[in-house]
């Protein structure tokens, strides 16, 4: 399954087409009687769908909560309006417009293009700021930066009277020359484009890497994924779609004022996004539909006079509905109605050929001759010395154990090696290349992959995809290594039957094996394992010995493993390092270590 066009392209395209046709058919049916109000309702809904799909591309894939997308919408809307309004009208509304904008006269399509270009430029700058601030799922900094955009754009729109005519009146241009949205063809075209873009982006390399980082930023980084580029791509695409939708919105309304693209619209679009499921394109559209229907219904109800119901049926019911929907879904069903389900998932299951597990491949990988060295590593946390001149050396082809009492500094040493903790002094080298000071993803790309004490899987992604995204990274940065195919790794980890299940649904032992296989997918020279058997029964941890050995053999990597289970350590290790209070107190074969008096003292305490 190196590339699976059916899953990645054909089924999603068909699914997108199906969704679009469904919307198109529904719209045509609903407006068949030619009623003007239902016509405008449908038009607005389709335009909102474009904007919300734009939000989905960024928020859904990256998990970064942006409140600023409607700010991009405001920029696009104003740019579109100022370019498209005829010079005669502009002379009346904004005669003093700067940069000679009062004279320019563009068609709606040209205006839309100008709007798109301008917002993309702004989005690029915001994207740089977001990545500088370390944007990741739920990051506060991203919320502040995007809110700032929304506010600044709003204030500029209110105060730059020469350009925008201020907040009271706004700009109006209805009708816009001879151009109209009659027949809604432009809306349908943009909508079908937005659906396909949003759906297919999820299957692209950028989309998949962004999703991995959304699930667990730290785990993605130590697997070599630096999501900055992918998040930028997602942002630019997303802003492009939001801009197109916003220009349509202004076009359709025939006017613009600062309130049109502010908190209310942010609330409306975000609610639409989360109700159906922000990680799903189908879910996004379902959300748009439900919220549109609900808003319309509550708006109609609020004007009705039903005895005994007057306490409920009054103005503001729509806002209650929106706020309530947002709150209710966050409390009861935060992933939305559909979660990350797509129409084409169903389609794919129908269309795919029966799969059989790959035949066990003979070990072809030549053992590498890599050497990993950690020399004299010292780390302080405040006044606490976690590591004191600790050194470790491992060569590919051997399994090196790292044991010691709790707090001895084992995990800290692993964190220093993988770049998660900066050491005060000491250096890390892999085959003579200094890794000290590199970023975690840089270190992963150089050839170290690790697992975690409390495992950190990409929980919403499938078993296969957990391995797949890391494999995707490895095919670019670890070309020198021969990488086993994804399905071979899945089988090797004994997870073939669970290959399409979400990682979050796995039992403990399977999750541990998946994390091991995921680390192996990175094609490392060394696998660094942090307590692979913690929480396992004796039987399971004996199995883990084979599991680790065969996985290391499959990819030809050396192993450094931390564990407390002495049976496991003696069963698997060629050499063992013993750490105590940050210092290496003994090195040797498991047999030598077990009779070393210093080790016994560290573990059991001593009387002298």
């Amino acid at each position: 399954m190196q590339t699976d066009p059916l899953r990645r392209a054909i089924a999603p395209t068909l699914g997108s087409a199906f969704l679009f046709l469904l919307l198109l058919g529904g719209s045509l049916l609903y407006t068949a009687n030619g009623d003007a109000s239902s016509n405008s309702l449908v038009t607005q809904m389709l335009i909102n769908a474009v904007v919300v799909l734009g939000l989905q591309i960024y928020i859904g894939n990256t998990g970064v909560l942006s409140f600023g997308h409607i700010g991009f919408g405001a920029i696009a809307g104003y740019t579109f309006a100022i370019c498209a309004i005829s010079p005669e009208r502009k002379l009346r509304q904004i005669p003093n417009a700067p940069f000679g904008l009062a004279e320019i006269d563009l068609t709606p399509l040209q205006s839309g293009m100008v709007a798109l270009t301008l917002t993309i430029i702004v989005a690029f700058v915001i994207g740089l700021a977001l990545s500088r601030s370390g944007a990741r799922s739920g990051a506060v900094a991203a919320v502040v930066i995007t809110l700032a955009l929304l506010f600044v754009v709003h204030e500029v729109a209110r105060n730059w009277i020469d350009l925008t005519r201020g907040g009271k009146t706004g700009l109006s241009f209805s009708p816009l020359g001879n151009a109209t949205l009659q027949g809604k063809v432009p809306i349908y075209l943009i909508l079908v484009g937005a659906i396909a873009l949003a759906r297919l982006f999820k299957e692209t390399r950028a989309g998949r890497l962004a999703q991995a980082a959304r699930e667990d930023d730290l785990a993605a980084r130590v697997m070599g994924i630096d999501p900055a580029v992918q998040q930028m791509i997602a942002l630019l695409l997303s802003v492009a779609v939001v801009s197109a939708g916003s220009a349509l919105r202004v076009f359709e309304l025939g006017s613009i004022n600062p309130r049109l693209f502010f908190f209310d619209y942010t609330l409306l679009t975000l609610t639409m996004l989360i109700v159906g499921g922000r990680n799903s394109v189908a879910g996004t559209l379902v959300g748009v539909l439900i919220i549109t229907a609900g808003s319309e219904l509550t708006r109609n109800l609020s004007g009705m006079d039903v005895p005994g119901m007057n306490w409920l049926l009054r103005d503001g019911l729509t806002d209650i509905f929106l706020g309530g929907a947002m709150l209710g879904f966050m409390i009861l069903r935060p992933a939305g109605l559909l979660g990350d389900w797509e129409v084409d998932h169903w389609l794919y299951r129908r269309l795919r050929r029966a799969e059989s597990p790959p035949a066990p491949s003979p070990v072809t990988t030549a053992r590498s001759t890599s050497v990993l060295q950690a020399a004299k590593v010292t780390v302080h946390f405040g006044g606490y010395q976690a590591l004191d001149n600790a050194s470790l050396e491992a060569t590919a082809g051997e399994v090196v154990g790292l044991i010691g009492p709790n707090g001895a500094g084992k995990t800290t040493l692993l964190n220093v090696i993988t770049g998660l903790v900066r050491s005060d002094s000491g250096r890390i080298e892999l085959d003579g290349t200094v890794l000290t000071g590199l970023s975690p993803h840089g270190i992963a790309r150089s050839g170290l992959a690790r697992t975690f004490q409390n495992f950190r899987l990409f929980s919403a992604l499938s078993v296969r995809e957990n391995i797949g995204v890391v494999h995707l990274m490895a095919t670019r940065f670890r070309q020198s290594r021969s990488l086993p195919p994804v399905d071979t790794l899945v089988t090797q980890a004994g997870l073939w039957e669970h290959r399409d299940r979400r990682a979050a649904e796995l039992d403990y032992g399977s999750a541990r094996r998946l994390e091991l296989a995921r680390a192996a997918a990175a094609g490392p020279d060394f696998l660094l394992l942090d307590e692979p058997t913690s929480g396992m029964s004796d039987h399971e941890s004996i199995n883990m010995i084979d599991q680790v050995r065969s996985m290391a053999e499959l990819i030809g990597a050396g192993v450094v493993v931390i564990d407390h289970d002495l049976n496991f350590i003696t069963g698997i290790c060629d050499r063992v390092y013993v750490l105590d209070q940050g210092r290496v107190i003994a090195v040797g074969t498991p047999a030598e270590i077990s009779v070393n008096p210093a080790v016994q003292a560290a573990y059991l305490g001593t009387t002298d």
């Binding site: 799922s137 700032a148 204030e155 730290l218 009054r314 806002d319 935060p334």
Partner: protein
């Protein structure tokens, strides 16, 4: 020089209110890791309370303590209705929940009162000034500064010297460990909301004395100021929140007095922009709280 001193006093007056709001937000962030975008709703509810009590013939001496009681009740109700259910949820869910509460409360007031703002009388003395030589000081600013100091000292005493304060600080430091040590999470969280309600209530008294109006969006501005001040202070840090509030107040006053005419309307935008830039270059806030993710 005289002008600068006056501006500083003015800035401290504003900053004091922001500090109280920010502290309430920081207290809740400490125990729940939640940025409470619904904090402003405590001000909204207080505003309507003042309006109704005035309409019923009460004066500020009665209304001021009533505001604190109402703010505390509102905070506890919001915790019970919404935040209790998303404890420990991913950051995304908690952020959206607090925004949901913000919008829902706003909508309730639109529905059951009106979308329009209502006025109520401001106390007569808030425009009085004291003259000391060339210096003319607004009595109101001095009152705010005094009240802020008293409240902060009270809070400090509460946090340092009482059992509740110790549990709150422990929970803010490491919630899971605090629970293992026998601190009851429900109590601590409810306590944190009560404390944030008291702080918001005190802030609301002065905010409303100055604004003299109630409306569904009355809480938006104070909420933003409080959140921004807490962000400047690094969110988790309580002393950081206070410093953040004072900083924000001073920066605003200096900006307003120095911006060329016509652009004064942009003050809020510029403040927001500055804070966004702060986050771009110092994502951990002005006052750093070391928060190392354990792996």
């Amino acid at each position: 020089m005289i002008e600068l001193i006056q501006q500083i006093i003015d800035g401290l007056g504003r900053g004091g209110i922001y500090a109280l709001l920010a502290l309430g937000i920081a207290v809740i962030f400490g125990v729940m890791h939640l940025i409470n975008f619904a904090h402003g709703e405590l001000i909204t509810v207080s505003a309507y309370t003042s309006y109704w009590l005035f309409a019923s013939g009460f004066n500020w001496w009665f209304i001021a303590p009533a505001i604190i009681v109402v703010a505390v009740l509102t905070a506890v109700i919001i915790e019970f209705v919404a935040f209790r259910w998303v404890r420990g949820a991913p950051d995304f869910t908690m952020l959206m929940t607090s925004f949901g509460v913000h919008f829902l409360v706003q909508a309730l007031f639109v529905m059951y009162v009106s979308a329009n703002f209502r006025q109520f009388p401001r106390p007569g003395w808030i425009f009085d000034t004291w003259r000391i030589g060339d210096l003319s000081l607004e009595v109101f600013d001095l009152a705010v500064i005094a009240a802020t100091l008293v409240t902060l000292l009270g809070t400090y005493w509460l946090l340092q010297r009482t059992m509740f304060g110790v549990s709150l600080r422990a929970a803010a430091e490491d919630f899971d460990t605090a629970r293992l040590m026998g601190i009851r999470s429900n109590r601590v969280i409810r306590g944190a909301f009560i404390l944030s309600g008291v702080l918001a209530g005190v802030a609301a008294i002065f905010w409303l004395m100055r604004s003299g109006q109630a409306g569904p969006t009355a809480g938006l501005n104070p909420m933003l100021k409080g959140v921004l001040a807490a962000l400047i202070g690094g969110l988790g840090s309580l002393s950081g929140a206070v410093l953040g509030g004072i900083t924000l107040g001073l920066v605003e006053v200096l900006l307003i007095s120095r911006l060329p005419g016509g652009t004064a309307g942009l003050t809020d935008g510029i403040v927001f922009l500055l804070i966004a830039l702060l986050f771009v270059f110092r994502p951990q806030g002005l006052i750093t709280v070391r928060r190392v993710e354990r792996v």
